[in-house]
Amino acid sequence: MDFALTDDQVELKQQARAWLGDRFPLERDWQSAEDRWSELVELGWVDVAEAGLGFVEEALLLEELGYACYPGPYLATVGFALPWLSAEQRARVAAGEERWSVDVDGYVPWLSSVDLVVADGGKAFPARGEEVASVDPSRPFGRLEKTDGEPLAGNRNLPRARTASAAEALGVAQRALDLGVEHAKTRVQFDKPIGTYQAVSHPLAQTYTDVELARSLVYWAAWCVAEGDERAPVAAAAAKAFATEAAVTACERSIQVHGGIGFTWEHPLHRFYKRALWLEGFGRRPAELHLEVADTLLT
């Protein structure tokens, strides 16, 4: 039993944190759709298998993409669509020539910025259709206009997709915590940093435990997916339920700790909050996942 990141994994995570922090800082043009996809391709993040890496590494990247509130369709292309694709299609993705998304419950995330969409239980369609606003403005949906679909070679991998969402949510939760802690250390009221007051510090401590527990579930699920472990479905359901809920709560507590500034458009916190709400709501929501887990336990 060894459940610690390897030195290489820690290094990958640190590199991703630094690279994303430089390209996607908190002070950025949040309206910009620039997602630096070609640079992600060069980094080898779009097809980690080519670099001999697996899904645990991909989950670490997704965590960091969440931490940076990255705008591009990485989650859809790599997290959701990849298992459906043939070797040729994957090669085109790896070369940065194609981006994909999937149709879930009639909504296709990033429809207007991808090339192809997986729908109808495993067919490929050109990405065309009407855009629909979502809770996260950087992550709009579309309703797919279906033409004749091409059957796909691969398969659905729901545990993988759920764990990908959970990993991104973990990064969002960590960022909301870090922002809250930073504010509590520097904001002075009644002549003291507000983090001195337990009414402020204790909710942050509780968020810390949420984040650490979420991290354990996400890495567990990622390992199960990577190893094809039989517990992957239930581990992924657990990770998605816990991590997305943790992200939403972390953002809500952080907004409260920030006071008025946390409620403004100017402050970036609401971007993370909306990302968290999106991740919690996309696919199955925590309450549904709890029921799903209960069903596996009771049968």
Binding site: T196, T209, W220
Partner: protein, 380 residues
């Protein structure tokens, strides 16, 4: 990263499971804890068997009677014993608190004198830290140790001391210097509970049982050789004890919670459950897994760095809350029968209220996380 047992771990687990199967009678499983932890004479016999089979003090150095095994073996021991709903070793304070502290701070004479009887369950230990006016604020203890020749004369009162009424020794934190500044005024003593002047009074608690005790010390003579660490350094020694209490208990707590959840699931299986209860069941199972894998991550960090990592600091906090929710859920699950005292779940729920108070209140644990892990300014 590999979440499977190594071949050595798998072999250890298999042997242990077979050993428990042979040695633990069915009627001794599934006890409700509480006062049963010391009332049943079988517990001492069981503790001695664990020792004879080499399962007591697994991670202790070999020279002190331990097995020198990695901490992952200790984790497996907790898991397997909890899964078999085994009673715990009666010397839990000695094994998880007094022993490791003596190993860290004791003289060779003290190690030779105290460690083996702890493992063998020949001598039981209790903890004398909290006082009526010093609970979370340990540095404020008032039990006095006054040096007179080759002995300390101890006077004062301790409280919330589990096992004190059957204990042979006590790890006692005393105030030894009224003039010294805070944190430099304490002395840590190993006190013979059979010495003249020691009086133990059981404290009846919310469950109706008496697991805790008050201990009164009246002119108790404690030889200077029974001091652990230097005079005035009791705070540092006590911190070692608490670190061990909080660092090694994560696996034990989670394993017990896991077994409790299994029992809850048994209750649930035969019943028609509304979606609200099903949802709660799913949620609590997830929390148990989160605690389990957080322990593993903390263990991974510990094995690499030999320092307890920050991951584990929330485990006791979250475990205590989870245990309280779970026992409450068990009452709801039983429907109209939930109002009855069934002799088991009723006890668990009442007992669980102590979980957020004992071994560091949740408020103190949140302070520790805020200050030492998140780096927020001190609140006092």
């Amino acid at each position: 990263m590999d979440l499977r047992d190594t071949p050595e771990e798998a072999r250890f687990r298999e042997e242990l499971r077979a050993w428990v199967e042979t040695n633990l009678p069915a009627e001794k499983r599934g006890g409700r804890g509480g006062a049963q932890r010391f009332e049943d004479p079988f517990i001492r016999e069981w503790s001695r068997k664990l020792y004879e089979a080499g399962y007591a003090g697994l991670t202790w150095p070999k020279e002190y009677g331990g097995a020198g095994a990695p901490h992952s073996f200790q984790a497996i021991l907790y898991q397997e014993l909890a899964a078999a709903q085994s009673p715990s070793h009666v010397g839990v304070i000695g094994l998880s608190m007094a022993g490791p502290t003596i190993i860290a701070h004791g003289t060779e004479e003290q190690k030779a004198r105290y460690l083996k009887p702890i493992l063998a369950a020949d001598e039981i230990w209790c903890q004398g830290f909290s006082e009526p006016d010093a609970g979370s604020d340990l540095a404020a203890v008032r039990t006095k140790a006054e040096r007179r020749g080759d002995a300390y004369i101890v006077n004062g009162q301790k409280v919330w001391s589990s096992f004190a009424h059957i204990a042979d020794f006590c790890i006692l934190v005393t105030q030894s210097d009224l003039e010294a500044p805070r944190y430099r005024n304490l002395t840590y003593l190993l006190v013979d509970m059979h010495a003249p002047g020691v009086e133990v009074r059981p404290l009846r608690q919310i469950t109706g049982e008496a697991e805790f005790n008050e201990i009164f010390f009246t002119d108790v003579q404690v030889p200077v050789e029974s001091r652990l660490g230097e005079e005035g350094e009791g705070w540092q020694v006590a911190m070692t004890t608490l670190l061990h209490e909080r660092a090694t208990l994560g696996f034990a707590l989670t394993a017990t919670l896991d077994a409790l959840f299994g029992r809850l699931l048994e209750e649930a299986r035969g019943r028609e459950l509304d979606p609200r209860l099903r949802e709660a069941l799913g949620r609590e199972w997830i929390e148990v897994q989160a605690l389990r894998y957080t322990n593993y991550r903390a263990l991974g960090t510990y094995e690499r760095t030999r320092v307890p990592g920050p991951e584990g600091s929330g485990v006791k906090l979250r475990w205590s809350e989870a245990n309280q929710r779970l026992t409450r859920l068990a009452r709801e699950l039983r429907g109209p029968d939930g109002i009855l005292d069934d002799g088991w779940w009723n006890h668990q729920q009442l007992r669980s209220r102590g979980n957020t108070i004992e071994a560091g209140t949740s408020e103190v644990l949140r302070n520790i996380i805020a200050e030492r892990v998140l780096g927020l300014p001190r609140s006092r």
